[in-house]
């Protein structure tokens, strides 16, 4: 096949740089992938595929960085959103859809007695730590080193525009090291409001790490012992592992849980749920935004959660993810390459075992993209319900060829 080129992508990017800082901001800037061998601008999507502005078609294993859980252009969700949009969306008030979605989440999610909605993951992770601070009247927040909880000042991995105080109350420990967490809780006893953790560790530029046996029970015990709020940041993994939330999948009981990504198949909405004991504290935090109650997105979320349940999307994503993970490992082995495949199957991740500088991964990812398979070099991937066996097989055939290129260039 003819390899893809990205001329229109690049032209559009040059146009963008004239009127948008960095051309594309944040993690979607090409600098974080493989500039020159990766699409920059999307044009349209359908199912598990999308097309860039050059007309290149991709089997998409990034799914918009997570939200596309059922597939691009999934009719039931789009119709639900359109129906509400025709009635109106951004009113002076919430619509009954807000209450219906809160009721839905309360009935569905592990440890949920109430729910509230934002637009993006950062909205609700920030709200969660404010709620923890309000509840405990304490200052510090503990998180795992390398974890991503959003782009607000307290947690952004960026550097610009910050002042020292922004992250002064944030403490970090090594994922899976409950002993380190305990040491922080002892050292700062009486000053810690909350512990915020993703259900498993999925850092960029690193392998995904599942919770070690006993880790979550120990975290829960420590939070109870020190009177600290346990926040599960399920923004990335939520509704891909268990409809009751990833805490149900891993078997622990958080106090607050945040969702975004997969909740509405690409419509902009995030949610926080919590236990009854934290409802008053949540009420005391002034949590609002122009579009926090926009009804079309809320209608999309309602439809999405129903549809995920109806079509049994999670077991399907588990099967497809497993097919991909096993297929990658097998093909890498065939070429004499060592890879580490990690993460739960619906959020697979892969790195080359004998490198820390990602050069093999960047070649692999760029060459896959030039052959129509989008696998990010530094970020975990996502499976959607729209990925079928034929898509996985087609993608694996491409990876087979590209593993050969990696072998030829790096020798192992």
């Amino acid at each position: 096949m003819a390899l893809y080129t990205f001329e229109k992508n690049k032209e559009m990017f040059v146009r963008a740089t004239k009127v948008i800082p960095s051309g594309i901001s944040g993690n979607k800037n090409p600098a974080f992938a493989v500039p020159g061998s990766f699409p920059y601008f999307a044009e349209r999507g359908d199912g598990c595929r999308y097309w860039d502005v050059d007309g290149n078609e991709y089997i998409d294993f990034l799914c918009g960085y997570g939200p596309i859980v059922l597939g691009y252009g999934y009719r039931a969700i789009d119709e639900a959103a359109d129906r509400q949009r025709r009635l109106g969306s951004a009113f002076n008030h919430p619509t009954p859809r807000s209450v219906e979605l809160a009721e839905k989440l309360v009935s569905l999610v592990n440890g949920a007695d109430w729910a509230a909605f934002g637009r993006n993951g950062s909205d609700v992770t920030s709200y969660a730590i404010q709620t923890a601070r309000e509840h405990t009247q304490k200052r510090k927040i503990i998180m795992a080193r390398g974890a991503y909880h959003g782009s607000h000042a307290w947690c952004t991995p960026g550097h610009g525009g910050l002042i020292e105080e922004d992250q002064q109350q944030i403490l970090q420990f090594t994922w899976n090291r409950a002993d380190e967490l305990e040491a922080l809780l002892v050292k700062f006893e009486g000053d810690v409001a909350g512990v915020i953790l993703t259900p498993y560790h999925h850092p960029a530029f690193g392998d995904s790490e599942l919770p070690a046996k006993g880790f979550w029970p120990e975290v829960r015990r420590l939070c109870d012992k020190f009177g600290v709020v346990l926040i599960c940041d399920d923004v990335r993994a939520g509704f891909r592992l268990d409809l009751a939330g990833s805490s149900a999948y891993f078997g622990f009981e958080p106090d607050l849980t945040t969702f975004c990504k997969a909740i509405a198949n690409g419509y902009s909405i995030s949610a926080i749920v919590g236990r009854e004991a934290f409802k008053n504290a949540a009420s005391n935090v002034f949590f609002t935004g122009t579009y926090y109650t926009a009804a079309a997105e809320i209608a999309a979320a309602l439809a999405c959660l129903d549809e995920l349940e109806r079509v049994q999307a999670i077991p399907h994503m588990m099967r497809m993810g497993t097919l991909l993970q096993e297929g990658l490992a097998e093909r890498a082995r065939k070429h004499g390459l060592q890879v580490r495949v990690s993460g739960p199957p619906p959020l697979p991740s892969m790195t080359f075992a004998n490198e820390r500088d990602y050069r093999r991964m960047q070649l692999f990812s760029g060459e896959c993209a030039r052959r129509g398979v989008l696998l990010h070099p530094h970020h975990n991937w996502f499976i959607s319900y729209a990925h079928k066996e034929a898509d996985i097989e087609q993608a694996l055939a491409v990876t087979d060829e590209v593993f050969g290129l990696v072998k030829a260039q790096f020798g192992g």
Binding site: A31, F205, Y358
Partner: protein, 275 residues
């Protein structure tokens, strides 16, 4: 009339401003002595007149700020050697009472340091002044100089090494960037100007211990390639948006990108102080 509480708040704000100014002066003094002045080493290799001056000077000079940074330059035989070792020998010692005074001199203000050693050799410092003026010419070139392609390459080489060398001081002394530096992955980063421009590299060890060296390095952890002298100058002097350049392909980063990203924050900060 401000209330007592308001007055205290205003005072605290003023104290913060004064602290920030003092910190900025300290970082800048370190940069001037550790990143700017040592560029005389490259200057005498790039410029024949500078070499002649260094040959004629035959002098070692220590510049020091009271209670602050210092550097010793051994100049002679057409070369300049920099030492940050307190026990290094020197013929002439010049003391600046404050970081501000030193920084003012580097900014071109008429500042007279206090000579504390080598009074009889002070006369030769005229040649040093001439040499340092040449350094300024290369680091802060005129539009006329920048018309020359050869000069632009030399300017770039000096700019590159000043920036890379400066990151070590940012990692040590800049309150804001110290935290970023503490997360800096250990490794080597090669900065290369294509197709055949200058290159330099930094070695980053545990504890954000950074050492910059002119020239390439084998098997870098991270590589930053800039296509063309003008792109490189634009990037290093912050006239070009690095993310835009990366997307447009005029700059290419490969390898461990968090190293490039975090290091770039330090490099940016050097520009902030020296601009």
């Amino acid at each position: 009339m401000l209330s007592v509480a308001d007055q205290e708040e205003a005072l605290e704000s003023q104290r913060a401003v004064i602290r920030a100014r003092a910190e900025k002066a300290l970082v800048l003094a370190n940069l001037n002595l550790h990143a700017v002045l040592p560029r005389l080493e490259e200057l005498v290799k790039l410029d024949a007149h500078a070499r002649e001056l260094a040959d004629a000077l035959d002098l070692s000079v220590r510049f020091a700020v009271r209670g602050g940074p210092f550097v010793t330059l051994a100049i002679g035989h057409g070369t300049v050697k920099t030492s940050f070792d307190r026990s290094a020998r020197y013929d002439v010692g010049l003391l600046f009472s404050t970081c501000d005074k030193l920084n003012a001199m580097f900014a071109g203000a008429p500042v007279t340091p206090l000579p504390f050693k080598g009074f009889l050799k002070l006369g030769r410092m005229k040649l040093f002044t001439e040499l340092s003026n040449l350094l300024t010419r290369y680091l802060k070139p005129s539009d006329a100089d920048m018309q020359s392609p050869e000069f632009r390459v030399k300017h770039l080489e000096m700019l590159l090494m000043t920036g890379l060398a400066g990151t070590a001081d940012i990692a040590r002394f800049d309150r804001k960037l110290r935290k970023v530096a503490s997360h800096l992955p250990v490794g080597t980063m090669l900065v290369k100007v294509l197709p055949d421009g200058p290159s330099a590299h930094v070695v980053i060890r545990e504890g954000a211990d950074i050492a910059a060296t002119n020239g390439p390095v084998d098997a870098p952890t991270t590589t930053l390639e800039m296509h063309g002298v003008d792109v490189a100058i634009g990037l290093l002097s912050k006239k070009i948006d690095s993310f835009a350049a990366l997307g447009a392909g005029t700059v290419r980063a490969s390898g461990l990108l968090p190293l490039a990203d975090e290091y770039n924050a330090l490099l940016d900060r050097v520009g902030y102080y020296l601009s």
